[in-house]
């Protein structure tokens, strides 16, 4: 047994040493990618004074919010942390926890409530984290260990770019770090027009997992302990022949309200939009769709504020 432990320890040590050398020598190679925008979002989160509005969730927020409009209406600075559903809800919430203070309003808006509390996207994880040790600290050792197996693939590809000098090249198209504005939204001019293909596969089941609920409730407590408030808002929903019945959304909302310890400020049916308001896929709204959705969110927030003051 001793021989086995020594050899396994030796093997793991080789990988750790190689990883340390790699991250020391090879600089970040994917700084221009879409997901690298998380660094700017964290910077904004840290530099924005409270009370502020923090939007937490996936790319429905990136493509679905006009933060400047929201900021004007609510008279509070807005930080849009929306990024990528593939990272998993847990990742998006971890990023937000970096700077939540008294008076902050944290708005959670996510597509999937049936997650299993994991950090996903093995192919994106290290390409986003790279050697940004601030992100490593936010993710934590368990999150890093969960994704350790995908490290070699990132290292090989990053090393190739480093050696060839082809890293950090400008990314064409909408999905680039340079296309985010100062709030964390995609710039208006980058999501004009509509090219969504409607199909049944766009609609997943409206299930809610207990792991997701437990995590949201823990997040609620986290916010409350810091004098902040967590609210849940809807995502944009495509209104087409495949859209589920109202009754499905009603029962989903009811279950969410019953199980979560935070307030659900939206009615899902208020966020139904025709295909012409979507950008390139679901749930990415185009600029006009984002305007409509932001107005609805403002209404929901004002309604919540009024009910709070009564």
């Amino acid at each position: 047994m001793k021989k086995l432990i020594i050899k396994i320890t030796f093997l793991i040590s080789i990988y750790l040493v190689l990883s340390i050398i790699f991250f020391t020598v090879v600089s970040a190679q994917y700084n221009t990618a879409y997901d690298a925008a998380v660094l700017d979002k964290i910077d904004r989160l840290e530099s924005t004074e409270s009370p502020k509005i923090i939007l937490v969730g996936d790319s429905n927020l990136v493509f679905g919010i006009d933060s400047s409009k929201l900021q004007s209406a609510m008279n509070m600075p807005v930080v849009n942390l929306g990024l990528h559903a593939s990272f998993g809800n847990k990742f998006n919430e971890l990023i937000a926890k970096d700077n939540i203070n008294k008076g902050d309003i944290v708005i959670l808006s996510q597509i999937d409530y049936n997650d299993d509390d994991k950090l996903y996207a093995p192919k994106l994880f290290w390409y986003t984290l790279e050697n940004h040790f601030k992100l490593w600290k936010i993710i934590g050792p368990i999150g890093l260990a969960e994704n350790a197996i995908t490290l070699p693939e990132y290292c090989v590809n990053a090393l190739k770019k480093y050696i060839n000098g082809t890293g950090n090249q400008a990314v064409t198209g909408t999905y680039a770090r340079a296309n985010f504005n100062e709030y964390g939204d995609i710039k208006r001019e980058c999501h004009i027009g509509s090219n969504i293909k409607v199909s049944k596969e766009l609609f997943s089941s409206m299930k809610i997992s207990s792991k997701c609920i437990n995590r949201i409730n823990a997040f609620t407590k986290y916010c409350e302990d810091r004098g902040a408030t967590l609210l849940i808002s809807s995502v944009p929903i495509l209104n087409c022949e495949y859209t589920p019945d109202d009754s499905i959304y009603d029962s989903f909302e009811k279950e969410l309200r019953n199980k979560t310890k935070c307030e659900v400020i939206s009615k899902w049916q208020d966020y139904l939009y025709e295909p012409e308001y979507f950008f390139d896929g679901y749930p990415h709204l185009n600029a006009e769709g984002a305007d409509l959705r932001t107005i609805q969110l403002i209404k929901d927030l004002k309604s919540w504020e009024n009910s709070k003051n009564e």
Binding site: M1, L4, K118, I149, P152, E153
Partner: protein, 473 residues
């Protein structure tokens, strides 16, 4: 709990350490607890179900053995088999039966079959029949019996452990064997690569081609062949991991695959594919029906029934049943034409035989994968769409393959498949590369290990989380 999960990476070293630290007579308790915890990740209700199965079958074995009255003994066995089979059929066929009724007047229960139920049901039936026919003594020690049924590597997708071969291993004193553990780790890593890289990448490509409405012609035909590889790597990979994990605890599980795609007849194929299931069907269905002892015609019926049961075991869809029947019919025809199809040929004749068997197996997998018989025939028909213009057919196939294969990294998989076939050929000749690699001198062996593990980690980064195909059986 998936083998490719963080929880399993924590679970395995802890269980392994405790197993080898505790005194010998406590090791089975560790395995029982380990199996229960492992299965609980699928759901506590499933773990309780498994425990009930273990308790009932434990007492059942003792009760059957103690009966002096042969008539009563037989009836008790039949009752157990009947109840276990009915439960299995209920879980497998409930949704299928409900779907046959078009209206929704039935109150549809949300019935989900516990993962692994097919496998441990067969193990328990095999144990009870062996006790009845006195091929094994009933296990009086509950913990030993529970450790045998709940042994976690085989719990979810086999191999189906035979009581005669595997149960005695839970009664002996196990000594920590460093070489065996390293051998086990090598087999785990090999299985890991097969399942989480090759099967996964091929699966993504095949799913894409199958789901695209415009897919027809050579690219669809090629996808059927890639599915043939996918299902092999998926299941073979899992079996390798299960066998390797067994070695870590000094338990030798039955080999489940032995280069099946290098078989020269369908009969030989079934002696090399899912060997534990083939053995079970032979021992508990084919031989009790009379095997080949009751004349040619009866033998053919017995083969057909055995493979019909195999098809039904795999799933409730009619496509599985057709798949099973095709293999049964294939073997019958083979026996009619070639009296001793288990003799192997050398040279070009051998290669031709392998190709024919592969084509047949590939054809039957189309039914196995299809959602319905109509779909299967539609795929078969579409595979040959445009074959009347061979030049266009081939060029279109090449063009489409180049377009999609780069995106899905399929070419690398096909290259690796050549190496897998070579490894299989060595295996058939009796060479175990996992054992041979131990003979390479240091430091080359260690450099090889580091590069090998690095390669596995590098390639499995693309794994997107699809489950074992055989989990649903």
């Amino acid at each position: 709990m998936d083998f490719f999960s963080f929880e399993f990476c924590i679970f395995l070293p802890i269980l392994f350490s405790i197993y080898w630290i505790v005194p010998t007579d406590h090791r089975n308790i560790v395995l029982c607890l380990g199996g229960f915890i492992f299965y609980s990740f699928a759901g506590y209700n499933y773990a309780i179900t498994l425990l009930l199965y273990v308790i009932v079958s434990y007492f059942g074995g003792i009760y059957i053995f103690r009966q002096n009255n042969q008539y009563k003994k037989t009836n008790i066995l039949k009752t157990f088999i009947f109840v276990l089979t009915i439960i299995l059929l209920f879980f497998k066929y409930y949704s299928f039966t409900i779907s046959l009724f078009q209206n929704n007047s039935f109150n549809v229960l949300n019935v989900i079959m516990p993962i692994g139920l097919s496998f441990y049901t067969f193990e328990i039936i095999g144990y009870l029949v062996d006790v009845y026919s006195e091929k094994v003594q009933p296990e009086n020690n509950f913990i030993t019996y529970a450790a045998y049924i709940m042994f976690f590597p085989q719990l979810l997708s086999g191999p189906i452990a035979s009581a005669k071969v595997t149960l005695p291993q839970f009664k002996i004193d196990h000594k920590f064997n460093y070489d065996k553990i390293i051998y086990g780790l090598k087999r785990i890593s090999y299985g890991f690569f097969l399942k989480y890289y090759l099967a996964s990448v091929l699966g993504n490509f095949v799913d894409y081609i199958y789901s695209a409405e415009s897919s027809r012609g050579g690219i669809l035909l090629l996808s059927t062949m890639l599915y043939t590889l996918q299902i092999y790597y998926d299941f073979y990979g899992y079996s390798e991991m299960a066998i390797g994990l067994g070695k870590l605890f000094d338990i030798d599980l039955i080999e489940n695959f032995n280069a099946p795609y290098l078989s020269q007849s369908i009969g030989i194929f079934w002696s090399r594919w899912h060997i534990s299931l083939t053995n079970w069907l032979k021992e508990y269905i084919y031989i009790p029906l009379g095997g080949n002892k009751k004349g040619k015609f009866r033998t053919y019926i017995n083969i057909f029934v055995t493979f019909l049961v195999s098809g039904m075991w795999h799933g409730s869809n009619i496509t599985y049943i057709v798949w099973g029947m095709l293999h049964g019919i294939g073997q019958i025809i083979e026996r009619c034409l070639f009296h001793n199809s288990k003799n192997e040929s050398n040279g070009i004749v051998g290669i031709i035989r392998i190709v024919f068997v592969l084509l047949f197996v590939n054809f039957t997998w189309i039914f196995f994968r299809a959602d319905s018989i109509n779909d299967a025939f539609s795929i078969i028909f579409n595979c040959f769409s445009g074959v009347g213009h061979p030049r266009t057919y081939i060029l279109k196939t090449i063009f489409e393959f180049k377009t999609y294969s780069d995106f899905y990294n399929v070419k690398k998989c096909m290259l690796f498949s050549i190496f897998i076939m070579i490894i299989d050929m060595f295996k058939l000749k009796g060479y175990d590369l996992a054992l041979l690699s131990s003979k390479v001198r240091n430091p080359f062996r260690w450099i090889g290990y580091v590069l090998y593990i690095f390669m596995i980690m590098y390639y499995t980064a693309s794994y997107t989380g699809s489950s074992f195909i055989y989990f649903k059986f």
